[in-house]
């Protein structure tokens, strides 16, 4: 029972929030337009969440994701608006640039042995400077129609941006679950030494995870550029860093409690957005939304860690029961020592707080 609560708690919360706000503001909240608008608005957060999830799975953290999204925004706008580069080519260049940033992040962390927490923190600041230099410190106020239409055009009732988000989620979920590379990435995160003795090179896979994260940050930046129709020299996505991390960690409490997962990220991103927009519609004061979002994150993680502890206790009881029925045959033990990966460092602890609450 509690086990289910842990799994579907966030989904239930989302439904309750939707129902509550719909009853309170039926004409404004319970409209397809509101759903469409909120989902559209959250898409860069969702794709950005995928971008940090992959390095997180290999036990690395990418704090430069928001700066990388901002950089993609600036690069795409400058190329198309100022330099007159054809949109498809500009999109390709943007993706190459952000993937390259990911590669550099990976090399700094794995070849220079700078902890990713510090390395990507430095990279985030550095990218801000690169963005300013590349845009000559001038905001770009419009982008060509081809860029906005690529993102804003409706398909089957939803803007293309939303479809990009959906496709990204499906691709990432598929890669992580059904391709060998996904299993190896998760193995590196779960126990790098065991992975190495199985012929998987942990540092290679960590670098790969940063590159994939960089590519996804590029996708998020392209979507953002189409939505905004402009670029800010000082970085239009920098404020997304904390919402992205909040959505990923809140999402890790749902469906497979204690583990990062794509579906959880999606539900969490929508939940956070609907709560904010619902509160605005109710006329709640400006401070209510950050207050509730922050509290929701802390509470959700606390609840899911409680559910995990409870589940561990049930496992023990079950094993003892089995012991009774088997009467010595097979001899399961009363409790197993929890396994952990490499020695903890700051990053791992930050991550564990959200992804591994049982330990």
């Amino acid at each position: 029972m509690t086990h289910r609560l842990g799994r579907y708690g966030l989904l239930v919360l989302l439904i309750l929030a939707l129902a509550g706000f719909s009853l309170a503001r039926p004409t404004e909240f319970a409209t397809w337009n509101n759903v469409k608008y909120t989902w559209d608005e959250q898409t860069p957060v969702i794709i950005g969440g995928l971008a940090i999830m992959i390095p997180l799975l290999t036990d690395s953290i990418d704090l430069s994701v928001a700066a990388n999204i901002s950089l993609a925004n600036i690069v795409l706008a400058v190329l198309t608006e100022n330099d007159g580069v054809a949109t498809p080519l500009a999109v390709l260049i943007t993706l190459l640039v952000t993937s390259f940033v990911g590669l550099v992040n990976g090399l700094i962390s794995e070849r220079l042995h700078v902890p990713s927490f510090v390395g990507t923190l430095g990279m985030a600041t550095l990218l801000g400077g690169v963005g300013l230099a590349y845009s000559r410190s001038t905001d770009i106020l419009t982008v060509p129609h081809s860029v906005t239409s690529m993102v804003r055009t409706d398909l089957l009732g939803l803007p293309l941006s939303v479809w990009y988000g959906i496709v990204s989620m499906i691709v990432v979920a598929f890669v992580l679950r059904y391709l060998p590379v996904g299993r190896k990435l998760r193995a590196v995160g779960a126990n790098p030494r065991a992975a190495a003795l199985t012929g998987i090179r942990p540092s290679l896979y960590r670098i790969v995870s940063f590159v994939l994260g960089g590519t996804l940050a590029g996708v998020a930046g392209i979507v953002l550029t189409g939505q905004l129709g402009s670029a800010t020299a000082s970085g239009s996505a920098d404020t997304l860093l904390l919402p992205i991390f909040a959505a990923v960690f809140l999402g890790s409490t749902a469906f497979t409690p204690g583990r990062l997962n794509v579906l959880g990220l999606f539900v969490a991103a929508l939940f956070l957005a609907f709560v904010s927009s619902g509160l605005v519609l109710l006329g709640a004061p400006l401070w209510a939304s950050p207050l509730i979002n922050g509290a929701a994150l802390i509470l959700a993680i606390a609840l899911s860690s409680w559910a995990l502890r409870l589940r561990a206790r049930q496992f023990r009881a079950q094993q003892l029961k089995q012991l009774d029925s088997e009467d010595g045959e097979g001899t399961p033990e009363t409790s197993a020592p929890p396994l952990s990966g490499s020695e903890p460092n700051g990053v791992r602890q930050v991550k564990q707080a959200a992804t591994d609450p049982a330990s």
């Binding site: 030494r193 012929g199 399961p332 009363t334 396994l339």
Partner: protein, 484 residues
């Protein structure tokens, strides 16, 4: 205690002042529950508990004050603090005007250390001491806060023979002070060597309390398992094995910590490579697996030259490697059994995994290895220690490798699981012709499992024994430097 089930159902347990008392039982027999009740972390449903003649009351803090100390496998020491600080953290710093007096805590620590006859520099960081000395620091810490009953949980699990001897010598010295020790262990030889009396638990009951002097090892194992033949001694037929092809021939290997060393292993053979913990046998395994560099020497695998350049090459050549520490090096606890067993699936990166057939393969494997419960989709950390070890072995033994390198294949598992594991290794070698190189510090394991043994000392092979000559005494003697 745990819902409707009983973990303990009738235990009589009595420890006298100044004795070393062995507490034995298979995993799941109730030892850890008994310890938790003694420590006051859990309450008994019935029965009576007295310490030093007085009715036990209160929680862990009161018990500690009353003179009880518990030393777990994870010693609970601070590796970055000095020995003196570790002791003072528990028994209290002496201060002057609120500031710590370093010299006072050092001399207090030195007093305890000297009382034990334990040769140790108290200003050293605990993390820099060998494991046996760390265990002794934990003992000193217990004595410093006035413990009169010390419970040690598996203190020798990761110690080599020489360190075990040191630990036991010092524990024996506590007898004169009237301090009692309870030794919880899987190793029956430890018990016979050091304990005065023994209590055996089985299925939550105390089934025997004997004086250790009256017990033989076989009798002890029979008491622990309740079975006649569970000692893990698979009967061997020395000499009847047909002569088989050479699987691996290594000549003049040199690497970090060993060499020159030559090894030969035949198809279907279980070769033991043993020695004290620092004899270099583990480095040989790592070098053959391509995880550590070989500085010279040649290796031939099935007659073809084999150059162990990386773990990948080794795997492609048909090797498999089971590390000694399953938690740190072997298993990814957060992944499921099937994800661990098939951690690095073969094939191009874009080909999707075959979920169902992989699961079925893994399921069958878990059943043949007698993992309970045999559920491929379960996270590895939810299995018990012995079952985790079986999963780790299944990862390589199940896949028809040409040569498997097994480091401490039965470390920290109970007698029943150990017998299962030995049976599996032998069966795999007999049937599939896999060659197994068993690398260990546990001489009993060599006696129980191996067809032949190479003994190493300080990086060199000092002996090569056929099955008929293998005995724990001879192995120990050779490992320490005697001649055979």
């Amino acid at each position: 205690m745990y819902g409707p089930t009983l973990a303990l159902a009738g235990v009589d347990f009595q420890v006298r002042a100044g004795e070393i008392h062995g507490l034995l039982g298979e995993n799941g027999a109730g030892k850890s529950t008994l310890v938790r009740i003694l420590a006051g972390a859990e309450r008994q449903d019935g029965g009576e508990l007295r310490f030093f003649g007085e009715q036990a009351s209160g929680g862990p803090a009161e018990r500690r004050k009353a003179g009880l100390a518990f030393i777990h496998q994870d010693l609970g020491l601070f590796a970055d603090f000095s020995v003196a600080d570790n002791i003072a953290l528990s028994s209290g710093f002496s201060t002057r005007r609120g500031l710590i007096r370093q010299s006072a805590s050092e001399s207090a620590a030195r007093a305890v250390v000297d009382r034990l006859g334990f040769d140790c520099d108290v200003t050293k960081l605990v993390g820099e001491l060998p494991l046996a000395d760390q265990t002794l620091v934990a003992v000193c810490r217990a004595l410093a806060h006035g413990a009169r009953l010390i419970v040690l949980d598996e203190p020798t699990a990761y110690l080599e023979a020489r360190q075990v001897r040191k630990l036991f010598d010092i524990l024996a010295g506590l007898r004169a002070d009237g301090v009692a020790c309870v030794l919880i262990t899987h190793r029956s030889e430890d018990v016979l060597r050091v304990c005065d009396r023994v209590t055996v638990l089985r299925d939550g009951r105390s089934v025997a309390r004997r004086s250790a002097a009256q017990l033989s090892e076989a009798e002890l194992i029979r008491l622990i398992t309740g079975r006649e033949d569970a000692s893990g001694n698979v009967p061997r037929r020395p000499g009847t094995r047909p002569v088989r092809r050479l699987r691996m021939a290594a000549e003049n290997l040199r690497g970090a910590g060993f060499g020159p060393l030559s090894l030969e292993i035949r198809e279907g053979e279980v070769l033991g490579l043993c020695g004290l913990a620092d004899a270099g046998q583990f480095a040989v395994g790592l070098a053959l697996m391509g995880d550590a560099p070989l500085s010279s020497g040649t290796v031939a695998l099935d007659g073809r030259p084999y150059q162990p350049g990386s773990v990948r090459t080794a795997l492609d050549a048909g090797l498999g490697y089971v590390p000694a520490n399953r938690t740190a090096d072997g298993l990814a606890g957060g992944l499921t059994a099937v994800e661990n067993v098939l951690m690095s699936p073969r094939g191009p990166w874009w080909r999707p995994l075959r979920g169902r057939s992989d699961r079925e393969t893994c399921q069958r494997l878990l059943e043949t290895f007698r993992v309970s419960p045999p559920q491929a989709d379960r996270e590895v950390m939810t299995f018990s220690g012995g079952n985790q070890q079986k999963i780790l072995l299944a990862k390589w033994l199940g896949f028809d490798r040409r040569l498997v390198i097994l480091n401490e294949p039965s470390a920290g598992v109970d007698v029943g699981a150990k017998a299962d594991i030995h049976r599996r290794i032998r069966r795999d070698c007999e049937v599939n012709g896999t060659a197994a190189l068993v690398i260990t510090t546990d001489f009993q394991e060599i006696v129980d499992l191996c067809d032949r043994a190479v003994v190493m000392r300080r990086g060199l092979a000092v002996g090569n024994l056929e099955a008929s000559r293998i005995s724990a005494d001879l192995l120990t003697e050779m490992a320490y430097g005697g001649t055979a």
